[in-house]
C-alpha cells in the first residue's frame, strides 16, 4: 500500500536521506503543534459552548503564558533553522575532486557535456557512488535543474555559472525537471538521470568519438587565437593561465578575486571589467563570437592547465571534505 502511495520520492542520493530526516522531524513537530491547536480549539469550543445562564469569564491575559508560548516556539524554530542550514551547506558545497559535467539550458532542452567529451540532450548518465558536480548556464531565460530523487534543485541563469552537486547511491532512471517557469514548453523541458553501475558507466563513457572536453577546448583556444597572448610562459601580452584556476588573482583596481568558473567566463565575455593587475586592456570581447558550449570547453581547458599539467581532472577550491565511502548513512544527520 505504501509503495502504491508513497509520501516521498525515491531516495537515490546521499542528500536524500538527510533532507527526508529533517522533513520527518518537521512533520512530527508541526503535526504536534497543529494537533495541539486543533484539539484545544475543538475542546474549548465544545466545553465552553453557550449555555443559557452561564456567562463567559473574562481573562485579561497572562504575561507568563505569552512568554512561554513565545520562547518555546522560538527554540524549536532555531533548532529547525540550524538543522536546515547544516543540510543546505552540505548541499551547496561540492566536494573537491568531483567529476565535472557542464550543463547548458535553453528553451526547452538540457544540453549536457561530460568532461570526457560525451554529449547528451535531456539525459544525464552518471555512475553510482561518485561525486558529480554540475556547472550550469543558460542561453536564454532562467531555468532550474531539479532532480527530486536527489532532493536537489538549482536555478540556471543566463550570463553566469551556477553549480550543484550530488552523489548518487542507487542505480536507476530518475526524473529531471525544469523547475523555473521558462515559457511555452516549460513542462516539456524534462529528462532522465540515468544512474549506472561503475563498470557499465565506463563502457558508456568509452564509446566517445570526440575526446575529452579539455582537448576540444585546447583546439578552440588555438583557433580563436587565445594562445598568441596567453602563452605558457611570462612573455605573453595576457596573463599566463597555467594553474590559474582556483587561485587568487590581483586585479588592476586593487581587489582580489578567486579565479573560479564564473570569473574565467566573465574574462572571456567581458575582459575589461575585472582586469588582472599589470596587463593592458587590449583583449577584445568574445561576446557573440563563442557559444556557451565553446566557453565551457575553454573553461574546462583552462582548468586542466594545472601547475602539474594533470589533464582534464582538476581540483576545485577548498571545500569541506566528503568522506570517500559510497554508502549512504541512512537517516542519520549530523
Amino acid at each position: 500500500m505504501l509503495n502504491n502511495f508513497p509520501l516521498w520520492p525515491e531516495q537515490a542520493s546521499t542528500l536524500a536521506h538527510r533532507v527526508d530526516a529533517l522533513y520527518i522531524f518537521l512533520l512530527v513537530i508541526t503535526g504536534t503543534m497543529a494537533l495541539l491547536v486543533c484539539t484545544l480549539v475543538i475542546f474549548f469550543a465544545a466545553r465552553f459552548r453557550h449555555r443559557p445562564g452561564v456567562r463567559a469569564e473574562q481573562i485579561e491575559g497572562s504575561d507568563a503564558l505569552e512568554i512561554t508560548w513565545s520562547v518555546i516556539p522560538l527554540f524549536i524554530f532555531m533548532a529547525i533553522f540550524v538543522w536546515g542550514a547544516v543540510v543546505y551547506f552540505r548541499e551547496r558545497t561540492p566536494p573537491a575532486d568531483s567529476t565535472e559535467v557542464y550543463v547548458v539550458a535553453k528553451q526547452w532542452m538540457w544540453k549536457v557535456e561530460h568532461a570526457e567529451g560525451q554529449r547528451e540532450i535531456n539525459e544525464l548518465h552518471v555512475p553510482v557512488g561518485r561525486d558529480v558536480k554540475l556547472i550550469m548556464t543558460s542561453q536564454d531565460v532562467i531555468h532550474s535543474f531539479y532532480i527530486p530523487a536527489f532532493r536537489i534543485k538549482q536555478d540556471v541563469l543566463p550570463g553566469r555559472y551556477t553549480v550543484e552537486w550530488f552523489h548518487a547511491t542507487k542505480p536507476g532512471v530518475y526524473h529531471l525537471f525544469c523547475a523555473e517557469y521558462c515559457g511555452t514548453q516549460h513542462s516539456g523541458m524534462v529528462g532522465s538521470i540515468v544512474v549506472m553501475e561503475p563498470a557499465q558507466y565506463e563502457a558508456w563513457v568509452s564509446g566517445n568519438p570526440s575526446g575529452p572536453l579539455s582537448v576540444s577546448g585546447e583546439k578552440t583556444f588555438a583557433e580563436l587565437g587565445c594562445s598568441t597572448c596567453h602563452r605558457p610562459d611570462m612573455q605573453g601580452r595576457g596573463p599566463n593561465l597555467q594553474g590559474v584556476y582556483g587561485k587568487s588573482v590581483q586585479l588592476e583596481d586593487g581587489r582580489t578575486v578567486t579565479a573560479d568558473e564564473n570569473y574565467l567566463r566573465e574574462c572571456i565575455l567581458d575582459p575589461g571589467s575585472r582586469r588582472v593587475k599589470g596587463y593592458q586592456p587590449i583583449m577584445p570581447t568574445f561576446q557573440g563570437l563563442v557559444t556557451d558550449e565553446q566557453i565551457n570547453e575553454l573553461v574546462a581547458y583552462i582548468k586542466s592547465l594545472g601547475d602539474n599539467q594533470s589533464g582534464a581532472k582538476t581540483t576545485t577550491r577548498a571545500a569541506s571534505q566528503l568522506s570517500g565511502n559510497a554508502q549512504p548513512s541512512g537517516n542519520q544527520v549530523q
Binding site: 502511495f5 508513497p6 516521498w8 520520492p9 533532507v19 529533517l22 508541526t30 491547536v37 486543533c38 480549539v41 474549548f44 469550543a45 465552553f48 459552548r49 453557550h50 452561564v54 456567562r55 463567559a56 469569564e57 473574562q58 481573562i59 497572562s62 503564558l65 505569552e66 508560548w69 516556539p73 522560538l74 524554530f77 532555531m78 533553522f81 538543522w83 536546515g84 542550514a85 547544516v86 543540510v87 543546505y88 551547496r92 536564454d140 531565460v141 532562467i142 532550474s144 531539479y146 527530486p148 536537489i152 534543485k153 538549482q154 536555478d155 541563469l157 543566463p158 550570463g159 551556477t162 526524473h175 525537471f177 523547475a179 523555473e180 517557469y181 515559457g183 511555452t184 516549460h186 513542462s187
Partner: protein, 551 residues
C-alpha cells in the same frame, strides 16, 4: 440564534443606502460606506474571473496529457489567475471593502480623513482593472504573476507592458487607501478612543497600511524598469544587455513578500473581532495581539530573499534570510495562541461568522506551519517551485485571507445591508468551503514533496501524479460551489432577508452602536468612548446585577 430575536426596524429611517438614488449618487459619492460597496461589487467581479481561470487550470490537470487547452493558453491562465487574484482581489479585498466601511465607524469618525482621495483610489482601481481586462481579452500575459526576467523583458511577446501598467495604476489605489487609513487612525479617533482601546481590527489595518505605503512604490518602480528594458532595451535585468536577472527578483519580492501580509493581516483583524464576539470575551493578551501585527509588518520587509534560496544568491545571505523568516513566524504563532486562549471559559456560539473563524484558525495554522518547512534551507531546495509551495501559499492567501474575508462579510452584513442573511445556508456554505478547500489543496503538499513542479501544463512524463491531481480537481469544484453560495444568498437577502437590528450579535464596538444600515455620517452625535475594547462583560451583564459584578 440571535436572528430569531432580532427586532425589525422601520425601513423608512434615512441611511447611507436610501439617502440618494441613481447611478451618479454612487459614482460621485465620497461616503466611505458607499465606496466600500463599489469596491465590493468590483472585487467580487474579479474574484469570479480569477476563480473561473482556476477552474480551467484544475480541469486541464485532470489528465496528465495537455488536452483541454493549448500550452500557451494554460500558461496565460495561471498567469492571469495569479494577477487577478493577487492585485485585483486579495490586496483590496478586506482593506478596501470591510476596512473602508468599518475603519471610520470603529474609531467613531464621520468618514475617512480624505473622502475624495478615497473615491479616487476606487477609480484608479477601476482604471487598472479595466486595463487588465482589456489585456486579458486581447491576448493576456504568459510570464506567471512573478514576471521573472529576462523571460518577461526579452523572451515573450505577450502584453507585459499593458499588464504592468494595469498593476502600476492599481498599486496607487492601494497606496492611497493605506495613506487614508494611517491618517484617519492617527487624527480622527473619537474622544476617549485611545490607542489601547482600539479594536484589534484597527491595529491590523494600521499595520497593513504601513506595508501598503512603504512597499507598493517598490513594485511600481520595478514595473517601470521592466517596461524600460522591454521597450527601450536598457540593460537592467537581462545579462545579454549587461543587466542582472536576480536584481529583478530582489525588487519583486521586496514588495511581493510583504504583500502577503497586506492580505493576511486584515484577515487576522477580522477573525479577532469575530472570536471576541462569539465567545463573549475580551481578547486574551490584547497588547500582544496588537503589537504582533506591527511586528509582522516590520519583519515582513526583511525576509524577501527566502523566495530565492535556489536562485543563485550566496550561501550566507540565504542563511540570514532563513533566520529572519523564523522571526516573522513567531508573531503569527503568538496570535494563534492568543485566539485559542480567548476561547477558554468563553460562552461560545457557532454562528456562521464563527464557523469561518474556526476554519481560518485551522487553515491558517496549517499554512503557517508548512511555512516552517519552506524557511528551512535544506528542505526549501527540494520543495521550492513545486506544488508544495502552491499549497502553502493557498493555505495562507485563500485558507487564511479569504476565510477571514467571508467571515467578516457575514459578521458585518447586517450592518452593511440592514438585512439578515439565511443562517442555515451560511453555515452550510462555511462547511462546504472548508471541506472543498482542504480537498483541493492538501493533496498538493504531497504532490510537491513527491517532486511535481509548479506551472506544468502537461505531466505525461510522470503519470504517477494523476491520483492526487484528480483529488485536487474534485475539491476545486466543491470549493467553487462553496464560494457561489454566499454570493447567491447575500443577493437574495438584500431583498428578502429579515431586517437587521442595530446590533444583532450584541457585539462590542462603535459600529454596532449606530443604526443598521448606518446614516451617512455614521453617528447621529459624536460618540464619546468611556470603555475598553471588547467590553463583553458589561454587554452581557443583566442590568440589575451590574452593580454587583463591578464590585
Amino acid at each position: 440564534m440571535s436572528m430569531e430575536i432580532a427586532i425589525p426596524q422601520p425601513v423608512e429611517r434615512e441611511n447611507y443606502l436610501n439617502k440618494e438614488y441613481g447611478a451618479l449618487s454612487w459614482l460621485l459619492t465620497t461616503d466611505h460606506k458607499r465606496i466600500a460597496l463599489l469596491y465590493l461589487v468590483s472585487i467580487t467581479f474579479f474574484f469570479f474571473i480569477g476563480g473561473f481561470f482556476a477552474l480551467l487550470i484544475r480541469l486541464e490537470l485532470l489528465t496528465p496529457a495537455g488536452d483541454l487547452v493549448q500550452a500557451d493558453t494554460y500558461n496565460k491562465l495561471f498567469t492571469m489567475h495569479g494577477m487577478v487574484m493577487v492585485f485585483f482581489f486579495l490586496i483590496p479585498s478586506i482593506p478596501a471593502v470591510l476596512g473602508n466601511f468599518l475603519v471610520p465607524m470603529m474609531i467613531g469618525a464621520k468618514d475617512l480623513a480624505f473622502p475624495r482621495i478615497n473615491l479616487l483610489s476606487w477609480y484608479l482601481y477601476i482604471i487598472g482593472g479595466a486595463l487588465m481586462l482589456h489585456c486579458m481579452l486581447t491576448g493576456g500575459v504568459d510570464t506567471g504573476w512573478t514576471f521573472y526576467t529576462p523571460f518577461s523583458t526579452n523572451f515573450t511577446n505577450t502584453k507585459i507592458v499593458e499588464a504592468g501598467i494595469a498593476i502600476f495604476i492599481a498599486g496607487f489605489s492601494s497606496i492611497l487607501t493605506g495613506l487614508n487609513f494611517v491618517v484617519t487612525i492617527h487624527r480622527m479617533r473619537a474622544p476617549g478612543m485611545t490607542w489601547s482601546r482600539l479594536p484589534l481590527f484597527i491595529w491590523a489595518h494600521y499595520a497593513t497600511s504601513i506595508i501598503q505605503l512603504l512597499g507598493t512604490p517598490v513594485i511600481a518602480i520595478t514595473i517601470v524598469l521592466v517596461a524600460a528594458e522591454r521597450a527601450l532595451h536598457l540593460g537592467i535585468f537581462d545579462p545579454k544587455l549587461g543587466g542582472d536577472p536576480l536584481l529583478f527578483q530582489h525588487l519583486f519580492w521586496f514588495y511581493s513578500h510583504p504583500a502577503v501580509y497586506i492580505m493576511i493581516l486584515p484577515s487576522m483583524g477580522v477573525v479577532t473581532e469575530i472570536i471576541a464576539c462569539f465567545s463573549r470575551k475580551r481578547i486574551f493578551g490584547y497588547s500582544f495581539v496588537a503589537f504582533s501585527s506591527i511586528a509582522i509588518a516590520v519583519f515582513g520587509f526583511l525576509v524577501w530573499a527566502h523566495h530565492m534560496f535556489v536562485a543563485g544568491i550566496s550561501v550566507y545571505s540565504a542563511l540570514v534570510f532563513s533566520f529572519l523568516s523564523y522571526s516573522v513566524a513567531l508573531p503569527s504563532a503568538i496570535k494563534v495562541f492568543n485566539w485559542t486562549a480567548t476561547l477558554y471559559k468563553g460562552s461560545i456560539r457557532y454562528d456562521a461568522p464563527m464557523l469561518y473563524a474556526f476554519g481560518f484558525l485551522g487553515l491558517f495554522t496549517i499554512g503557517g506551519l508548512t511555512g516552517l518547512f519552506l524557511a528551512a534551507l535544506g528542505i526549501d531546495v527540494h520543495v521550492t517551485d513545486t506544488y508544495f509551495v502552491v499549497a502553502h501559499f493557498h493555505y495562507i492567501m485563500v485558507g487564511g485571507a479569504v476565510m477571514g474575508y467571508l467571515g467578516g462579510m457575514h459578521f458585518w452584513w447586517p450592518k452593511i445591508s440592514g438585512r439578515l442573511y439565511p443562517e442555515g445556508w451560511a453555515r452550510l456554505a462555511a462547511l462546504i468551503v472548508f471541506i472543498g478547500f482542504n480537498l483541493t489543496f492538501f493533496p498538493q503538499f504531497i504532490l510537491g514533496y513527491m517532486g511535481m513542479p509548479r506551472r506544468y501544463y502537461d505531466y505525461s512524463h510522470m503519470p504517477e501524479f494523476q491520483v492526487l491531481h484528480v483529488l485536487s480537481t474534485a475539491g476545486s469544484t466543491v470549493l467553487g460551489v462553496g464560494y457561489l453560495l454566499p454570493m447567491v444568498y447575500f443577493l437574495w437577502s438584500m431583498r428578502y432577508g429579515k431586517p437587521a437590528s442595530d446590533n444583532p450579535w450584541n457585539a462590542a464596538g462603535l459600529e454596532w452602536k449606530t443604526a443598521s444600515p448606518p446614516p451617512t455620517f455614521n453617528f447621529d452625535e459624536e460618540p464619546v468612548v468611556t470603555w475598553e475594547a471588547y467590553n463583553y462583560e458589561e454587554l452581557d451583564a443583566p442590568p440589575h446585577k451590574q452593580e454587583v459584578t463591578v464590585g
